[in-house]
Subunit: 200 residues, 2 copies
């Protein structure tokens, strides 16, 4: 059994959402599984000194057009949600708690649902009650989740996750590491695919 | 006859070099011509506040790997030249002078030769004599070129070219604008191709 590939994403990133709709099937086609790891792009950018795309007006105008064009070309539904872009910390904490209690697979399914809820249906996934609704639909109990995601150990785990991602060389999202090989950006999933094909 | 597509590049950018090896053939396949426009990525980044990739160590490590992998996958020879990355102003000035005297087609051919000389053969294209050698191989006389690229009007034209690129929304290279539609990055040539196919 080969190692899982690691998929770094931020719940706030539309490009990460695009990649999230594809990554499991892409990996499965090569007999590989995916380990989903939430990070905060703001934390990564603070470390590298790169400004976030929405804060560079010229770039942001382009990115909006590129997102629309890319989603359309790929047949993926994407709507930039109300208030976008936002710093989203709660979904990552909720996911890490679910992972700790229910395992990575349930946590990844929760994350995929959150991204869909945010980028397709425009739900406010900063709201803990919305997160609890999404989790409840996947048989994760509300009350323990709402308490768990506020635990100091979970908050600390998310901080550690960002620090570890930086150590692995992750400076943006979506970012995939497969057998030590890094792939940055939705538009690099093709190269990942080719890499995994050779690695089989 | 449809409008030319505009190809913005920096002589110092390996991704621009990769795109330069493809852009004319890609456009020609759709009956389109390319207008090559040199810019200085440093000038664009100063305007947008984005740091250059080589100045963000975490990103730079990735970019080096990505360049190697991408060039290999695409079958393009690419060697990061001695002293890379450098600020390269002279080739842009030389190109603008050649364009003024000999036209855009000769200027684009000169630019393509410079990029190849730099990223394949490791020539120092900051050196005016090297530029004159490259130009001479294309029947551009040395002496007028060496004088012309130092003219105030040419220096000013290059500054204006950067300012105009920013106005067109160009914040990085390679950057292509086709019928007002912007495409940033070598990895977006596929989307450009699809766009031109629909635009025919």
């Amino acid at each position: 059994m080969q190692d899982d590939i690691v998929f770094y994403f931020d719940f706030a990133s539309p490009y990460a959402y695009l990649a999230a709709t594809r990554i499991d099937a892409l990996a499965a086609a090569h007999g590989r599984r995916v380990r989903w790891k939430p990070v905060l792009i703001t934390a990564l950018c603070q470390a590298t000194g790169a400004p976030l795309a929405p804060l560079v007006p010229l770039k942001w105008r382009y990115v909006q057009r590129d997102l629309e064009r890319t989603a359309q070309a790929e047949g993926i539904t994407l709507r930039l949600p109300p208030g976008f872009p936002r710093l989203l910390i709660s979904p990552g904490r909720a996911m890490l708690w679910i992972e700790r209690i229910h395992g990575q697979q349930r946590a990844a399914a929760f994350a995929a649902s959150c991204l869909r809820a945010y980028f397709v249906d425009g739900f406010d996934i900063a709201d803990a009650r919305v997160l609890a609704d999404i989790a409840a639909a996947q048989d994760v109990e509300r009350v323990p989740l709402l308490a768990g995601m506020e635990e100091g150990v979970i908050k600390e785990a998310f901080k550690q996750a960002n620090a570890q991602a930086l150590q692995e060389g992750v400076f943006g999202v979506p970012f995939v590491i497969a057998d030590g090989e890094p792939f940055w950006g939705f538009d690099h999933l093709g190269q990942l695919d080719a890499w995994l094909a050779r690695a089989v």
